[in-house]
Symmetry: C2
Subunit: 210 residues, 2 copies
């Protein structure tokens, strides 16, 4: 049993928005925007629908607030990547490893991706935010690193406008997990997956360089 400190009304009230946001995340992920009932979100918190509407004007606003609330943690990662040192290869591998953890392994980010794919039509702002805050910085970073590697002679000359390809296994893992969850036989071993991913990325499939 958790030692549930008795809270003052002010404390309770200041916690409510986040409790509601967390509950909203679960429900919106489970049922999508239209399919989610505000009352189910309230139930999850242990309050009634009326309370939800004290804190959020409409279902739409609640949805948007929820997305914003769960979009933050990603920013830190972008900071870390700036402070890396070593060869271009080392830094590229480090970043891709971090991205894998953040995008493929973190449930919140994964489910956020689901919502972006599923509800993007209805919330164009969501798409724009997602592009500006997630995709664009990642691609820019990877682009830059590849260019550095090419400049230093570590990497072959490679068209930089296709950095998607380099990041692809990460997004693919995310999407396959979204679709098949635990249905697909073994959840692949992280270390082994990354080892193969990086090996293929750096050395390619062919037995001999031509």
């Amino acid at each position: 049993m958790t030692a549930q400190k008795k809270l003052t009304r002010a404390e309770q009230k200041s916690l409510r928005p986040i409790q509601i946001l967390d509950a909203a995340f679960e429900e919106f992920v489970r049922c999508g925007f239209t399919g989610t009932r505000v009352e189910d979100i309230a139930d999850r918190v242990g309050v009634t629908k009326g309370t939800v509407y004290v804190y959020f004007e409409t279902k739409e606003k609640l949805f948007e607030a929820m997305i914003n609330h769960f979009s933050v943690p990603f920013q830190e990662l972008l900071g870390i990547t700036a402070s890396l040192s070593g060869s271009a290869t080392d830094r590229l591998i480090s970043i891709l490893g971090l991205l894998y953890e953040q995008i493929a392994e973190d449930r919140a980010t994964r489910e956020l991706t689901r919502l972006v794919i599923a509800e993007g039509h209805r919330f164009p702002d969501l798409i724009d935010r997602h592009h500006d805050q997630f995709i664009e910085p990642i691609i820019t970073k990877v682009d830059a690193l590849i260019l550095e590697g090419v400049a230093s002679g570590e990497f072959r000359e490679v068209p930089v406008e296709f950095s998607d390809i380099v990041v692809a296994p990460i997004l693919t893992t995310t999407v396959l997990r979204l679709i098949f969850d635990d249905r697909r036989v073994p959840t692949p071993n992280k270390e082994a997956f990354l080892r193969t991913y990086f090996d293929l990325l750096l050395n390619g499939l062919l037995a001999k360089p031509h």
Copy 2:
């Protein structure tokens, strides 16, 4: 003006299910399952809601029928791949090229992927079908080809349980298009994309083999 042949009642009736299925595709893609109104589907065909229910028992059944209707064309591709010849490299490239066309470039397949990601929870059968008919055969095929390549000495020894990685750029292209549609600056040039994809896959990023 299209030369609209006057149809007999029987002809008209035999066309209806497909007209409705096509309209359902557009609406379900646009609004998701819960968000779609059966009446909007009917409007799109130019009939009323009642007519839709003449042909399909429930909204759920209509949704499932629509998915099945649009899932067929993929089967052909799997046939083609069986009849390829040449080196493992050539055949792998051929298959990946075909997959790219079918998965990333074909709108129906792409939007089907969206629905699988978005509505998978609600329709477990859908996921199973999708896995059995799409993912599984593809991965199996790619696995087999890689093993052949390894056996013949063309490819390096590579753990075969990670064929996802090889296919990843295709799924990633699909998903990025689903999210950003035409919002992302230029729709990348297909030939150039595939050239880079295959080059990276076969030769890797490093300047020298080590």
